[in-house]
């Protein structure tokens, strides 16, 4: 009933639910300061407050909640990675995602659609077989599938043998999923703020105070704060913030571009990606086709969209789904990815005492949000590095023990 809805909307008693209490004045001291109010920062605060009883926490966000890479990723959740450390870490995250709406009592619109990666060469089939074996060994649903199965899974995929790169086989990952990325950040922020955490938006950290190798506070554009510990969770600006604490990082920032079509009827269920033609495509629950995965060829701190990427992403998407030729583009955007040399994140201790790193999130940050919240909060609360994130510490680069995560990006490997 449209009039009923109008009446409801104009009513003084409109029960609009606030996700968090608007920021007050900054306190002089917090036990923990989290720099970065994205999914990761909010998840760490949520876990500190709910499971470790640490509620004197401030999240400092220079812009607005979830407005950085949390808003710019393409919301892919999967765990079909290649290294043991990677698969264990991301599969825990997928498990947490599956229960996230219950955890929050807030709908994050989790959809278990499955993910299909396409092989167009013998070399790709070999590497997929390897990945499938590693995944199955660690309890992740991942298997090599033939052309017939692919045609059944994605009936509208171009299976022609006359295309430039005919599809030979695929890696089917039944655990693959998607969720509403904004809702993930909002759910965590709401849960954290309900338990006493303060979210301060438009609050930028300008300097980090360090005395005797230990962090003592931060200076912001709204005044100075003393604190017991600092966590930086600022994917896309990790090098810039870490530099304020005097910590060099092995990161280069590249823009990653994606685009989305107008909404159409639902015809594509799984997430489909092709490392060969460099594209991934999925249809959102709103009906838009998300076409993603184009990294700029050189580092840049800029989220502009380019015609080059639009052309190459379109060409690749049309090769897989020729019917998209009629689709109208709605928008194109970029996020800044922290690319590490080994395609794995940098989590854990830093050279500065009580200063914790949650960085290097490249193109794998959104899917790691829940497990990152759990493990980083445990680290801050107990000062012990959880086994799950031990391999990802910054020190690995000094010991030449990188984790070569060749399964890190859906479109580039």
């Amino acid at each position: 009933m449209p009039f009923g809805l109008l009446k409801y909307g104009l009513s003084k008693d409109y029960p609009a639910q606030h996700h968090f209490t608007p920021a007050k004045e900054l306190k002089k001291h917090y036990d923990v300061v989290i720099i970065g109010g994205g999914g990761h920062g909010a998840a760490i605060a949520y876990n500190l407050a709910k499971y470790h009883g640490i509620t004197n926490v401030a999240i400092l966000e220079k812009s607005y909640l979830g407005g950085g890479n949390t808003a710019r990723n393409t919301a892919v959740i999967r765990s079909n990675y290649l290294t043991e450390s990677g698969v264990k870490f991301y599969s825990e995250s997928v498990k947490l995602y599956n229960n996230l709406s219950n955890e929050f009592n807030y709908n994050v619109m989790m959809e278990n659609r499955g993910q299909l990666t396409l092989a167009h060469s013998d070399a790709a089939i070999r590497s997929f077989r390897w990945r499938a074996e590693v995944n199955q060994h660690l309890g992740v649903r991942s298997e090599l599938v033939d052309r017939q199965t692919i045609a059944e899974l994605v009936p509208n995929l171009n299976m022609s043998e006359d295309s430039r790169f005919p599809i030979m086989a695929g890696l089917w990952h039944a655990d693959g999923a998607t969720a509403r990325h904004d809702a993930v950040a909002w759910g965590y922020a709401k849960g954290a703020c309900d338990r006493g955490v303060e979210l301060h938006q438009l609050t930028e950290v300008e300097a980090i105070d360090i005395a005797n190798g230990r962090v003592t506070g931060v200076k912001t554009n709204r005044g100075s704060i003393a604190c017991g510990a600092v966590v930086q969770a600022v994917a896309g600006a990790s090098s810039i913030v870490a530099k304020k604490a005097g910590i060099p990082l092995p990161i280069h920032c590249y823009p990653l571009q994606a685009m989305v079509t107008q909404p159409y009827k639902p015809i594509l269920t799984p997430h489909v990606s092709s490392p060969q033609v460099h594209v991934y495509v999925h249809q959102t629950s709103r009906g838009e086709f998300v076409i993603g995965g184009g990294s700029d060829p050189y580092p840049l701190y800029n989220t502009r969209a380019t015609l080059d990427q639009r052309e190459s992403l379109s060409a690749a998407a049309l090769e897989l789904f020729p019917f998209l030729a009629q689709a109208r583009m709605l928008r194109q955007w970029a996020g800044t990815t922290d690319m590490t040399p080994d395609y794995s994140p940098i989590m854990g201790l830093s050279p500065v005492e009580n200063y914790y790193l949650d960085a290097g999130w490249g193109t794998w940050g959104f899917k790691a949000t829940p497990i990152c919240g759990v493990t980083m909060a445990e680290l801050v609360a107990t000062k012990k590095v959880p086994d799950l994130i031990k391999p990802f510490e910054l020190e690995r680069f000094y010991r030449f023990e990188q984790i070569n995560e060749a399964g890190a990006t859906a479109a580039s490997h």
């Binding site: 090098s239 810039i240 060099p248 990082l249 092995p250 990161i251 280069h252 920032c253 060829p297 050189y298 580092p299 840049l300 701190y301 800029n302 502009r304 380019t306 015609l307 080059d308 040399p341 680069f397 000094y398 030449f400």
Partner: protein
Amino acid sequence: MKILTCPLNGPRNISEFTYGGEHHSMPDPNTTDSRAWAEHVFFHDNAAGIVTEWWCHSASSFWFLAERNTITDEVIRTFEASEIYNQRIDFVAASTVEGS
């Protein structure tokens, strides 16, 4: 298409070029410990602002340097490496370790 001016070949489409990393000087391999070497190999300044970096014109394999603003994506200038490397560098072979 963005244009980059190669000091050898003139203005060309940026798709003809390959980014070659930040320009930074190499520590002496004979005297550097592995920690400092790891930092040289893996760590980056990753600055937001004007940086000096290596580029290669792929078609002619010509390496040169560029000053570029990593916030606005403007190329300030490109120049030949000889502007910085104007003296001969003799790489001394790493001293042999006894028993190896």
